[in-house]
């Protein structure tokens, strides 16, 4: 295939998902400038390996690359943020209210925080499944593939992410009214 044709095909198949790539990177890095770095690296990598896509769905494929680029960027730039232990919370030995980390404490205090800030305060492992599900509307199977975890883990992380948001003061009014309406 001539290089021009290759590039045109890439622009037609992959470039339409640039917004999704940037949105994910923006929520993961929590910074506009860092998100651009991650996306740029991811797009060039996607271009290099575009042949490997072979008719599969382009958006989950691209988001997998964005996520990998993000973790490499995180390791290089903010290694302290890599939280390897958050799945321990999921194992259920501790009740939800006792596993509140400093981020959640800050979140509970921030009465005036916006919902976006509440999401930004989630540990990255919960944040990514929440964004992929709620904003990108990907299926459990697609998320499992992107994050490289079993579907059961997707479900438990998602439940945990939603639980944390619902417990934040921001959402208590919604909880109250939703529950009240049914009773």
């Amino acid at each position: 295939m001539p290089d021009d044709e290759f590039r045109v095909r890439f622009e037609r198949v992959v470039m339409p998902h640039l917004d999704a790539a940037y949105n994910l990177a923006r929520w993961l890095t929590r910074d506009a400038h860092d998100a651009e770095d991650v996306v740029q690296e991811a797009m060039l990598r996607a271009y290099r390996y575009f042949r490997a896509l072979r008719g599969a769905s382009a958006r989950p494929w691209l988001l997998t690359i964005v996520r990998r680029s993000f973790y490499e960027w995180l390791t290089a730039n903010r290694p302290a943020e890599i939280d390897r232990n958050f799945d321990q919370d999921l194992l259920g030995s501790q009740a939800d209210r006792t596993t509140v980390g400093p981020e959640q404490v800050a979140l509970r205090r921030a009465e005036n925080a916006t919902l976006a800030e509440a999401i930004a305060a989630l540990p990255v492992g919960f944040r990514e499944v929440l964004i992929l599900r709620e904003l990108e509307e990907l299926s459990y199977k697609e998320i499992a593939h992107i994050v490289d975890i079993p579907i059961g883990t997707v479900m438990s992380r998602l439940a945990r992410a939603r639980g944390l948001l619902q417990k934040s003061p921001l959402l208590e009014s919604v909880r109250g009214s939703a529950a009240g309406g049914e009773r």
Partner: protein, 254 residues
Amino acid sequence: MNCHEATALTAAYHDGELGPAQSLALEQHLVGCADCAARRAELDALHSRLRKETPYHAAPGALRERIIAMLPVVAPSGAGSGGQRWRWLSAGAFAGAAATVFAWVLGTALLESRDVDALAAEAVSDHVRATLGKRQIEVASSDQHTVKPWLSSQLDFSPPVKDQAADGFTLLGARLDYLDRHPVATLVYRYRQHGVDVFVRPATRASRPTPPTTVRGFNVSHAIGTGMEWWAVSDASPDVLAAFVERLAHDDAR
């Protein structure tokens, strides 16, 4: 179903990940159980607040331009020397001929793309009109063996009707529309929260594969196969739609 089971399944139900039998069992439980219904309402409330209050960050234009500008300097992995063969085009002796051919190809392409754009726009108009007018479905059935005979009785062609439930597309029924001054069969599917219309007409010699496009925010995907031309219109994501219309058009073993 008891509350314990319902609690475990509510999120999957909310996310559209439960099968029909389990969904039904859960729905029946929710009707009679205020606590479980409240838990479900909380998930809905969270979802709608997330959609409403959190920004979807679109890529800055400058980033897009920078990436496109960088592509030519990246060597795709596994790239052959395919590009080399075309170098002769730049040789002087052929330049004139090439320019003529180029102009002709460009002219034809523009003509075609205008036709295709008009068709895509018409398909989107049909889709929107049906959605607004509540005239989405004239024969409501998730059974392909009911939908197909109805269409055959209305049209002078008989489009294949396929159940795509395994891939998350539920067949809701069908109706008739006009496209390009001819009646077409419209298959109506639902994919998660999205309505999907598929317009089907017999393929002709003029039918050409057409890249996916977006018209007024709706994604349009096109495919040719099984003697038919297929146009899918939806607000579902373009790659999902493209894969779907390809599956419909091509008679695989499913």
